[in-house]
């Protein structure tokens, strides 16, 4: 069956099976491989994207459920070639090692900071607990999120 949605600001459509997951549609039909797969029980968060402005695990959504929706993936975060402040934060604070969890972490962080622009350490840790990272021990991820929050606050104050 045919699905269409807005992905990173562009109208995209494709042919899928009813059982096709959104993550597979993004990766296989659209070639947006920045969204990763780390599990099959919705535990790891590597597949996190934004669906109508909210962070969701794209392995928990069928492609057909996203028909007509507005989707943002990691590929849509940088604007005009400039890294998003959260992407910058992860780079500045060494918030990634292998980088596999990173796109999902960044998408979750974006949602977190939208809801809570100035989170405490505990709120950050709680906010990203649905995203697993096996490399960093999370410490530099927490700092990356704080860096991004500071930068975004400074920008919105401009």
């Amino acid at each position: 069956m045919q699905v269409s949605m807005t992905v990173n600001g562009q109208e995209r459509s494709g042919e899928v099976e009813p059982r096709t997951l959104l993550v597979h549609f993004l990766r296989e039909n659209l070639g947006l491989t920045g969204t990763h797969i780390g599990c099959d029980t919705s535990q790891c968060g590597a597949c996190t994207i934004h669906l109508n402005g909210k962070a969701v695990k794209s392995c928990t959504v069928l492609a057909v459920q996203a028909n007509g929706a507005d989707v943002t993936t990691i590929e849509g975060m940088a604007k005009d070639g400039e890294l998003h402040p959260i992407q910058e934060g992860f780079w500045e604070e060494h918030g990634l090692q292998c980088g596999y969890c990173t796109p999902g972490m960044i998408m979750t962080t974006a949602d977190l900071l939208k809801r809570n622009p100035n989170p405490t350490e505990a709120e950050i840790r709680h906010g990203i607990e649905g995203n697993l990272c096996r490399c960093t021990g999370y410490q530099h991820i927490v700092k990356s999120v704080q860096w991004a929050a500071d930068k975004m606050a400074a920008q919105s104050g401009d």
């Binding site: 099976e17 059982r19 990766r27 947006l32 491989t33 920045g34 969204t35 990763h36 797969i37 780390g38 599990c39 099959d40 029980t41 535990q43 790891c44 590597a46 993936t73 990691i74 590929e75 975060m77 940088a78 890294l83 992407q87 992860f90 780079w91 500045e92 060494h94 990634l96 090692q97 292998c98 980088g99 596999y100 969890c101 990173t102 796109p103 960044i106 350490e121 505990a122 950050i124 840790r125 709680h126 990203i128 607990e129 995203n131 697993l132 990272c133 096996r134 490399c135 960093t136 021990g137 999370y138 410490q139 530099h140 991820i141 927490v142």
Partner: protein, 790 residues
């Protein structure tokens, strides 16, 4: 900048990683991101039983399913060799059984591959896999490392009586016997180091492609050692010329040791690609990762300790049953012997040690190196030993450590149990710094106050040492390893002045592109941005052994430094010729070669590179081009060390362990990039904490894995952890020119005993001396209830 102003050194600076811009944009290229024209997809049917005879595998229905290109069973690969076993337990008989591409006649663990489906899409392959009819005759199974050796236990392999793959020992058995006989204090304890599942967030994968015209295979593999995978497939499995196999390791989403080994799926994708004339891809499912990727640890250990009243440890007997799983994985023999048994002395001077190890077969997944590999098990043993002594004598565990430390003036130090001599160390310095950072004098008072208020506050120590930078080839081959462990590097300077560094190391998150570029930039005095670091493809690169055992900097980095030295020598020759002076009058810095004392007489690095590359105007007898390859075989391993201290509180009502503080003082020698080293230490500590508190690969008695998803296996989450407090002492080593020791595994080795010791300290008021990991809330709560009842 003029040539007289020395350029600022990059080594030692916290430079942010050059790997990251593409990764934060989602532009990494991991295994499943690779799509080749005409690619077909593989799904593997694995045994649902831990031990069974294969009566029949009926593939007829599966073969008819939509999109299916082929269905294969063990019979189809009967002429392909079983996988090789590359690291024997040294000096003893190893009763070797290794996996075949697909099982024939019998399966030995839940996950043993039985059949494979290739289809147009992964979904079609998975659907068809469900249509394969298996007729298995169940046989009795055994899963426990020690129980498997008991009389009457089910037998896995004809050549391994009582399921013993090898019996190995080190140290002085009679000496320990005597020490225990004479001891004022004797303690015995059985401890378990539970099974762990590596669980990188990216599972394994493999793509095979075969070109019939050239008879060449290309593999994309999840590989920490692409050259070794190529060699092993060529020489032992496929019997295909090595030069007609190319292995590429793409970006890897973590590995932690689990992607070192030879796995059946790797040659399989090549064989299928050849058979079908199409590239084929296999991506491991998360549950498959739990079932079929080599796991870690799984020791049962009996300890017998002899000590004096003042806390001096005089003897230690360690008897370990190391569960190796259903077959021997690539390095299975070396981990619980060389990397474990020979490290049980830890940081202590103990006059009598004996360590006996039984490597055993069970109906479980294969066990091999997992972050730390043998050394975490050894650190856990000795650090529990010290705390058992302290608890028995009512002494401060810091004092017992200090009393038994190898003295700083004793290095290089031989522990007498067959390890190479520890290169350098200052164990009291690290302990003191940790005590200082945590504010130890106040902390014990806080603990007393907390206890008075009915709270269970505990302080735990771990003073560790590990063997890294493996390893001198002559030594490691005498220890049963069937190859070398040197490392290679090629450095070449292009006509344009850009520098290309090719390393045999295989980074997968450790930031080598950044670290190595920092080193080369300093070494050649060229801009950091003019250096690129390449790795991960066997085509046209010198053979290298790869990344594991915290060896990339100590061994691989040295190969780079030595290649840089060779290039500097040649630059000096060419510059002297161009400047018309003697070689000893030339100095190099900041992108120029200049006459000492007359920096205005100089030639730029770019001009020298161009002269060398073009080949005109070179001194007599000097070959064109700046290109140097080094194969560096280290004279010794390195021995990083440190002290970690954890403060925990156990909640009485739930048994939940909360980590209040975590202080880590590590000594990894000189540091090239402190940001990257801190990241390695953080990640390592958390993996070790995971073992102490949450992670457990659980098999039931019938051999079913109960923790095969991320719902059941306790990967640490952000909200479970505190901010760690890190600092360092710096004791250099003369094993390599950087004076660096290695940092990839230190955290994991140190943190597990620190946490367990802290929890035992917290529980000491109720009389608990030892609990086995993981110290999950139910386990702790239950133990507290039982202790209170007694």
């Amino acid at each position: 900048m003029t040539a007289t102003e020395p350029r600022e050194k990059l080594v030692g600076q916290a430079i942010k990683r050059r790997e990251d811009p593409r990764l934060v944009r989602g532009q990494g290229r991991y295994m499943d991101d690779i799509v080749l024209p005409g690619m077909a997809h593989v799904k593997i049917l694995r045994s649902p039983l831990a031990h069974a005879r294969i009566r029949n595998v009926d593939t007829a229905r599966a073969a008819e399913a939509p999109g299916v290109l082929g269905v294969y069973t063990g019979a189809d690969f009967a002429d392909v060799n079983a996988l090789p076993y590359a690291w024997q337990a040294a000096g003893v008989d190893n009763h070797v059984n290794t996996p075949r591409i697909l099982a024939v006649d019998e399966v030995h663990w839940v996950g043993d591959p039985i059949a494979v489906v290739v289809a147009e899409t992964p979904q079609q392959a998975a659907d068809a896999r469900d249509l394969i009819d298996l007729d298995l005759e169940a046989l009795p199974a055994v899963v426990d490392a020690e129980a498997t050796t008991h009389n009457g236990a089910p037998q896995l392999h004809e050549n391994a009586l009582n399921n013993i793959a090898f019996e190995w020992d080190c140290g002085d058995e009679a000496g320990v016997e005597g020490a225990i006989g004479d001891a004022a204090v004797r303690i015995s304890q059985r401890i378990r180091n539970q099974r762990l599942i590596a669980t990188p967030i990216e599972t394994r994968g493999a793509i095979g492609q075969y070109d019939a015209g050239t008879d060449e295979y290309t593999f994309w593999l999840s590989s920490q050692a692409p050259h070794v995978h190529r060699l092993v497939m060529a020489a032992f499995v496929l019997g295909h010329p090595e030069e007609k196999i190319r292995v590429i390791a793409p970006d890897m989403g973590g590995a932690f040791g689990s992607k070192i080994f030879m796995y059946t799926e790797y040659p399989l994708v090549g064989l299928l690609a050849k058979q079908l004339g199409r590239p084929v891809k296999w991506i491991e499912e998360r549950e498959e990762h739990a079932l079929a990727t080599a796991q870690g640890r799984d020791h049962v250990t009996d300890l017998d300790i002899a000590a004096e009243q003042d806390g001096t440890i005089t003897g230690l007997r360690v008897t370990t049953w190391a569960n190796l799983g259903a077959y021997l994985s690539t390095a299975a023999g070396g981990i619980p012997t060389t990397l474990y048994g020979r490290m049980v002395a830890g940081v202590y001077k103990i006059p009598n040690i004996h360590c006996k190890v039984y490597g055993t077969y069970t109906n479980t997944a294969l066990v091999d190196a997992y972050r730390g590999a043998g050394r975490p098990e050894a650190a856990y043993v000795i650090e529990r030993v010290v705390d058992l002594v302290a608890a028995e004598l009512g002494m401060d565990p810091a004092d017992v450590r200090r009393k038994n430390f190898i003295p700083t003036e004793a290095f290089p130090y031989d522990t007498g149990i067959g390890m190479l001599p520890y290169d350098s160390g200052d164990y009291p310095a690290a302990l003191d710094k940790a005590l200082d950072l945590i504010g130890y004098s106040d902390l014990r008072q806080q603990q007393a106050d907390a206890r008075a208020n009915g709270k269970y506050l505990g302080i735990g120590f771990s003073s560790y040492v590990e063997v890294c930078g493996i390893a001198p080839t002559a030594w490691v081959t005498s220890e049963g390893w069937g190859a070398g462990l040197w490392e290679s590097a090629n450095v070449r300077v292009q006509l344009t002045g850009k520098v290309v560094v090719t390393t045999g190391s295989m980074p997968h998150g450790q930031g080598h592109e950044t670290t190595f570029a920092q080193m080369v930039s300093d070494g050649l005095g060229v801009p950091y941005d003019d250096i690129i670091v390449e790795y991960g493809d066997t085509a046209g690169t010198p053979f290298g052994y790869g990344t594991y055992g915290s060896r990339s900097l100590a061994v691989g980095g040295t190969a780079i430094v030595q290649s840089v030295e060779k290039i500097r020598d040649k630059i000096t020759k060419i510059a002297a010729h161009m400047l018309e002076v003697n070689e000893d009058e030339v100095d190099i810095d900041a992108g120029t070669a200049f006459v000492k004392g007359a920096p205005d007489r100089n030639v730029s690095f770019g001009d020298i590179a161009a002269t060398a590359a073009v080949g005109a105007g070179l001194p007599e007898g000097v070959e064109p081009f700046l290109d140097a390859t080094t194969y560096f075989d280290p004279p010794n391993c390195t021995f990083p060390f440190g002290t970690h201290i954890a403060v925990v509180e156990v909640e009485e009502d739930t048994g939940n362990v909360e980590i209040k503080r975590y202080v880590a003082i590590d000594d990894v020698g000189n540091v090239i990039n402190p940001l990257i080293v801190d990241g390695q230490v953080h990640g390592g500590i958390v993996q070790g904490i995971g073992q102490a508190l949450w992670e457990h690969g659980v098999y039931d008695d019938g051999g079913q894995l109960l923790s095969s998803t991320l719902m059941d296996y306790g990967i640490p989450k952000a909200s479970w952890l505190p901010m760690m407090e890190l600092d360092r002492t710096v004791t250099t080593t003369d094993v390599n020119p950087m004076g660096a020791k290695g940092a990839g595994e230190a955290g994991t080795i140190a943190s597990t005993p620190a946490i367990v010791n802290a929890v035992m300290d917290a529980l000491s008021p109720v009389g608990i001396k030892h609990l086995d990991m993981p110290l999950s809330a139910p386990r702790v709560w239950t133990a507290m209830q039982e202790a209170k009842e007694n």
